[in-house]
Structures are given as structure tokens and as C-alpha cells.
């Protein structure tokens, strides 16, 4: 009953708040080798717009790529050397806008917004002092063609792994309860750990095969690159699979029949995976409450990890935090479900 009546409310609220494709508070870093009045004026204009917040001031090419790999900013704005000097000499100084296009929608919007702000600045400058135009050079890294598939593949992998792993395990254990086979298993000398392990291992294999086939498909059919280490990618996938499975087991310790298990997994996993993980709707745009909530969503971390590996080619040192978070959540669910596993009926 709670599910029946509560879930629609939650969904409406989630959709209402989370589904905004507008940009708000996107992290932007600045490279400004020769700060002067003009660059400051442009920077102020950018950050006053409300679309961006300043993340870091960077100094070198290495810092830029480091910054992107860590995912610390969505866009880096690079001012040319001797900016106002060039303006005074009548040359066209350039601003490079490098956007992280592993999320192509956000990237193109960021670039459009900043283009707009810069050309507005241009117009103002021309009217008042007749200075030459500033040229904005947008560049998309990680996904220069802005292919949507680059964004969808990590999300789809995540959703499918969640779906297969968590839903299938929770349903299969609930099925044992429903058909009464759990009754016989319980009377046997099997320990809860054995029962759970026996349920989980086949699904680990199954989900792993799924993950590999999605990766192969996206690589060969859609040309999504895997820039980083494949072994690392697979290892992270296994970690995520284990997490999803432990979530599934946890659900099945609560649900007594297949239907409840399915409803719970649908609502407890599918919706957050789609809505709160940053897969479709950028996390920065959500209300603060939902942003906090999304911190607890395993898919959010996993999507970040696979994007880093596949599109940015980063190594483990760039996302060990995310990995630890996933491992921690998995541990919590495993311990909770072994604790909660009932050695008796009812």
C-alpha cells in the first residue's frame, strides 16, 4: 500500500525537481595567464550569470587535463596571453572554451551560454569603445562529435547491470519464499551465507557477460572508445555488479513474494538510477536535497567511473574515492542482508 500510494508522489516530486535540463552552477575553471581588466570583466560576467561557479584557476596544460580527468570542472575557459594588449593593438584575442563532452548535452549548453555571454560583452565593448571583437573558440574534449551515445552507453550499462543483478536476485530469492522451497532450504544445514552465495554467483557471471556484451556492442557498433584500461573497467563493473546483487538480496529479505520484490527493485533502483544518477539530468541542476540524495546513489558513482575510464582514459588514482564509496555501499548491503536473513519463517 505504501508503494502503491507513496511512489507516485515521490515520482512526481522527483520528476518535477530533477528534470530540468537548464544549467545551473556548473563548475568552470579558468586559465588566465595575464590577468587584466578585460579578462576580469569577462570572468565576472560569466560567473554573475548564475550558470557557472568558479572552480579553480589553472596554470598549465597538464593542470587542465588533470582537472578534467578528476571531473572537477565541466568547462575550462582559457584566455589568451596578453589579452588586453592584443585588444589594444587591434588584434582579435581568443577565448578557448573547452567543455567536457562526455556529457554532450551539458557540454553544448555550457558552450552556448558562454558564447552568448561573450558576444554580449563584445556588443557592449563595441558600442562604448569600438574595440575589436573577442573570438570564442569552443572545443569539445572526450567527445568532439558530441555523440549522444557516449553519454548513453555508461548510463545503459549501469541501468542494465542494476536491472539484471538486483532485480533478478531479489526476484529469485522471493520466488523461493513464494514457492516454499525456502522452507526446505532453511530446514537443511545450509548457512545463510551459503544460500545467499549460491543465489548470487550465477548472477555475477550472468551480469558480467551482459556487461561485456554491452561494451563490445558500444565499441564496435557505436564506436564508443575505451581509452582507459579494460581490466580496470571490468574490475569496476564486477564491483558494481556485486553491489547491485547485494542490494537485490537486501530487497529480498524484506519482500516476501515476487511481486513486492519486483516493485521494490523497480522503484528503489530503476528510478534513482535514471533520475538521480546524473545519467540524464545533470546533478548540478537538482535542488540541494536531491543532490545530497544522489550522493547515496551507487549508479552515480559508477557512471562517473566508467565515463572516466572509457572516455577520459583515466586510471584508478582519479576515481579511487568513487571506487571506495561503491565498495563501502556493497559491504553495508551484504552485512545488512546476512544480518537480516531470516533463519526461520515469518
Amino acid at each position: 500500500m505504501v508503494i502503491l500510494f507513496g511512489m507516485p508522489l515521490v515520482q512526481v516530486l522527483l520528476f518535477g525537481f530533477a528534470i530540468t535540463n537548464e544549467i545551473r552552477d556548473a563548475k568552470v575553471s579558468i586559465v588566465d595567464p595575464t590577468p587584466d581588466v578585460v579578462t576580469h570583466a569577462i570572468r565576472n560576467k560569466l560567473f554573475a550569470s548564475g550558470f557557472f561557479i568558479e572552480s579553480e584557476i589553472l596554470n598549465s596544460q597538464e593542470e587542465i587535463s588533470e582537472n578534467f580527468r578528476k571531473g572537477e570542472s565541466k568547462m575550462v575557459v582559457i584566455f589568451e596571453n596578453d589579452f588586453s594588449g592584443k585588444m589594444e593593438r587591434g588584434e582579435h584575442p581568443t577565448i578557448q572554451l573547452i567543455a567536457d563532452a562526455s556529457d554532450p548535452n551539458t557540454a553544448s549548453m555550457l558552450v552556448n551560454y558562454s558564447n552568448g555571454i561573450i558576444s554580449e560583452f563584445n556588443r557592449g565593448q563595441q558600442a562604448s569603445s569600438g574595440f575589436t571583437l573577442i573570438i570564442a573558440e569552443p572545443r569539445m574534449i572526450y567527445n568532439p562529435a558530441l555523440k549522444g551515445v557516449y553519454m548513453f552507453v555508461p548510463g545503459i550499462i549501469t541501468i542494465l547491470l542494476m536491472l539484471v543483478s538486483a532485480m533478478m536476485t531479489s526476484i529469485s530469492i522471493a520466488r523461493e519464499k513464494e514457492l516454499g522451497t525456502m522452507e526446505v532450504l532453511l530446514v537443511s544445514p545450509l548457512k545463510p551465507f551459503n544460500i545467499i552465495a549460491g543465489k548470487v554467483i550465477p548472477y555475477v557471471l550472468l551480469s558480467f557477460i551482459n556487461a561485456i556484451s554491452i561494451l563490445l556492442l558500444s565499441y564496435y557498433v557505436f564506436g564508443v572508445p575505451v581509452k582507459g584500461s579494460i581490466i580496470l573497467l571490468l574490475a569496476e563493473s564486477i564491483l558494481f555488479i556485486i553491489l547491485a546483487l547485494s542490494l537485490g538480496i537486501f530487497i529480498s529479505t524484506i519482500a516476501n513474494n515476487q511481486q513486492t520484490a519486483m516493485m521494490l527493485s523497480m522503484f528503489a533502483m530503476m528510478l534513482p538510477t535514471i533520475l538521480l544518477s546524473g545519467f540524464i539530468f545533470p546533478i548540478e541542476n537538482m535542488p540541494e536535497v536531491l543532490q545530497w540524495l544522489s550522493l547515496a546513489m551507487p549508479p552515480r558513482w559508477f557512471i562517473q567511473i566508467i565515463k572516466s575510464i572509457m572516455l577520459k582514459g583515466s586510471g584508478i588514482n582519479y576515481f579511487w574515492k568513487e571506487t571506495l564509496i561503491l565498495a563501502f555501499i556493497a559491504m553495508v548491503f551484504i552485512v545488512a542482508s546476512i544480518r537480516k536473513f531470516k533463519i526461520r519463517l515469518a
Binding site: G180, E183, V184, V187, S188, P189, I343, R344
Partner: protein, 316 residues
């Protein structure tokens, strides 16, 4: 004859919310005995069996099986129990042979070593060894379930309504197997709603509303029936019951299939008097005879008596 005690229950109670399933059961079952629990649906048989199988916790009271407490020593107990739930609880999408292997596996039992226990039963389902368990007939399913519950050579076998929904021939075969198992000194606890199966047990407990009304050998239970019983064969049992309830000296008239069982105080009336009475009232050629009471008659008698006892308690 004093035998070793296999199962010992002391004042067991269990209730679900406001519904009482067990209202303080106490009984002992000896080793190697076939002990039957006879009672209608909802009498508390399943709750009792689940407690004994360590699947439920009793609200009050203690129960031990083979000296092992069902609450504290459940882990040890689970190694020596064979339990067959009332509902078919094998893997429907595994074949017959796979189910057997699976259950042997989880008990770490060797099928070959214990095959002699199940040989007679398993040979009947062996022709279907590669068939999925879900596709078996009702009787076959129960035979397979029995095999799976026996494969680890349990010390105590707990069977919850093993013959419900099984055809008459299979039921008979099933019981023949149970009686054969007795020779292996396995204590067998069996619940059944069928009164005719009661006579096959060594001892039975008649259970109703979570209370035991009588525990004894089937013979002693029928012998304790205090009244004279008559069987009336009639093509119109309902009319016969109505008429007999108006007949003076009758204690009860109950329908048993196509016959009516009428009880009266001993020596008060005889079969001829009933026959004459019925033909006076226009009921034709009903065969009336004196009869020996069955377990079912005793059950109904005890049930009514306990009902009266309760009423007296309410209105002193």
C-alpha cells in the same frame, strides 16, 4: 512398554495476532513411532510442525526433538530432520533426478549410501527421472518430496499433510512406504486431515482449535467411543438426517458420504426401531445396521463434547 522419547512438547502455544494456532500442546512421541496428527484445516497442525522443524518460534512452552531444543539447538537439529512441508516445495524447473541430487547435496549426503531407504519409492518415479518436477502428477510429486526429505537418512521425519490432494491409490502406496520406513527406526510425525489414515498410525492425536482432544492408539480411541452407532444407507441422506434428529433418543446424526451415522446411548434403541421409524415417515428401504465407530465418529464426538465443556465454562 517404555520407549525412548524422540519428540517432547510441553505446553506449546503460538498465536498469530488474535488468532490462536496452538493453545498449549503437550505430548511425547517415542522413537521409531508413526505418530499421526488428525484434525481439520486450521487446527494448528502446520504451526506445530513448523515449530518442530525449527521454522517457527513458539510463543510459550518448550519443544525438543531427539533431545535438541527447537529454539536453542536449531542448527544441530536441522541436520537430523527430514521435513516435508504441506505445500509442494521442490524446484519445479529441476528434473526429478536433479532435485534428488540437489537435496542430497545440501545435506552432504551420499545418494548411493542411502538409496536403500528410498529405493521402493524412487523406483516408482524413476521412469520420469528426466521430467521436470513441476510436471509430475500430485502423487508423484509427493513421492519425490518424500525421497528428497529422506535422502540424508533423517532421524526424525516430519510430514505435513503428505497425502492431501493425492489420489487414493497413491495415498495407499505412500502409507505402505511410511510403514516400511518404520523398520529403519525413523520417528515419523505425520499430519493428515483424512481420518481413514489414522488407523495406520501407531498412535494418533486428535487436534482441534490448537488443542489435543485425545492421544492414544487408534484402537483405544475408537474403543473409548461411548455410544451405540448406526449406519443408515439412504438415497436421500439429507431427509434422513432431518428425520433422525426428530427421533427420540438420538444423540447425533451426521452425514458420511452417502451414509448417515446416527449415535444413541447404548441399549436405548436398535436398528429395527430406526428402520420402522423411517418407513413410517415415508422413507423407503433404507438399510440400517449397527456399526463400529471409526476415528471420524470419535473426532466428531470429541469435538461436540469439548464444545459443550466450553459452553459450561462460559455459563456456570
Amino acid at each position: 512398554m517404555t520407549k525412548e522419547v524422540s519428540i517432547h512438547c510441553e505446553n506449546l502455544t503460538k498465536s498469530y495476532g488474535s488468532a490462536t494456532a496452538l493453545a498449549g500442546l503437550s505430548f511425547k512421541v517415542s522413537k521409531g513411532e508413526i505418530f499421526g496428527f488428525i484434525g481439520p484445516d486450521g487446527a494448528g497442525k502446520t504451526s506445530l510442525f513448523r515449530i518442530l522443524a525449527t521454522l517457527l518460534l513458539p510463543d510459550n512452552g518448550t519443544a525438543s526433538v531427539e533431545g535438541l531444543d527447537v529454539v536453542k539447538n536449531y542448527k544441530k537439529l536441522r541436520q537430523i530432520l527430514g521435513y516435508m512441508p504441506g505445500r509442494f516445495s521442490l524446484y519445479q524447473d529441476l528434473t526429478v533426478a536433479e532435485n534428488l541430487q540437489f537435496f542430497a547435496g545440501i545435506f552432504r549426503a551420499d545418494i548411493k549410501e542411502n538409496y536403500y531407504l528410498i529405493r521402493d519409492i524412487y523406483e516408482q518415479i524413476a521412469p520420469f527421472a528426466s521430467r521436470r518436477a513441476g510436471k509430475l502428477s500430485g502423487g508423484m510429486k509427493q513421492k519425490l518430496a518424500l525421497c528428497c526429505a529422506l535422502i540424508h537418512k533423517p532421524v526424525v521425519l516430519i510430514l505435513d499433510e503428505p497425502t492431501t490432494g493425492v489420489d487414493a491409490v497413491s495415498r495407499q502406496e505412500f502409507w505402505e512406504m511410511l510403514i516400511r520406513l518404520k523398520q529403519e527406526h525413523i520417528t515419523i510425525l505425520v499430519a493428515t486431515p483424512y481420518m481413514d489414515e489414522a488407523v495406520l498410525c501407531d498412535r494418533v492425536a486428535l487436534i482441534q482449535h490448537g488443542e489435543i482432544m485425545a492421544i492414544d492408539t487408534p484402537d483405544n480411541i475408537t474403543r473409548a467411543y461411548p455410544d451405540q452407532l448406526f449406519k443408515i444407507k439412504s438415497s436421500n441422506t439429507l431427509t434422513a438426517i432431518r428425520l433422525m434428529n426428530e427421533f427420540e433418543g438420538i444423540l447425533s446424526a451426521e452425514m458420511f458420504g452417502d451414509t448417515v451415522h446416527v449415535s444413541a446411548e447404548k441399549g436405548r434403541i436398535n436398528a429395527n426401531a430406526i428402520k420402522e421409524y423411517l418407513s413410517e415417515k415415508g422413507m423407503m428401504a433404507s438399510a440400517v445396521s449397527e456399526a463400529d465407530p471409526g476415528i471420524e465418529d470419535c473426532f466428531i464426538h470429541l469435538m461436540k463434547r469439548s464444545g459443550i465443556v466450553r459452553k459450561e465454562k462460559v455459563n456456570p
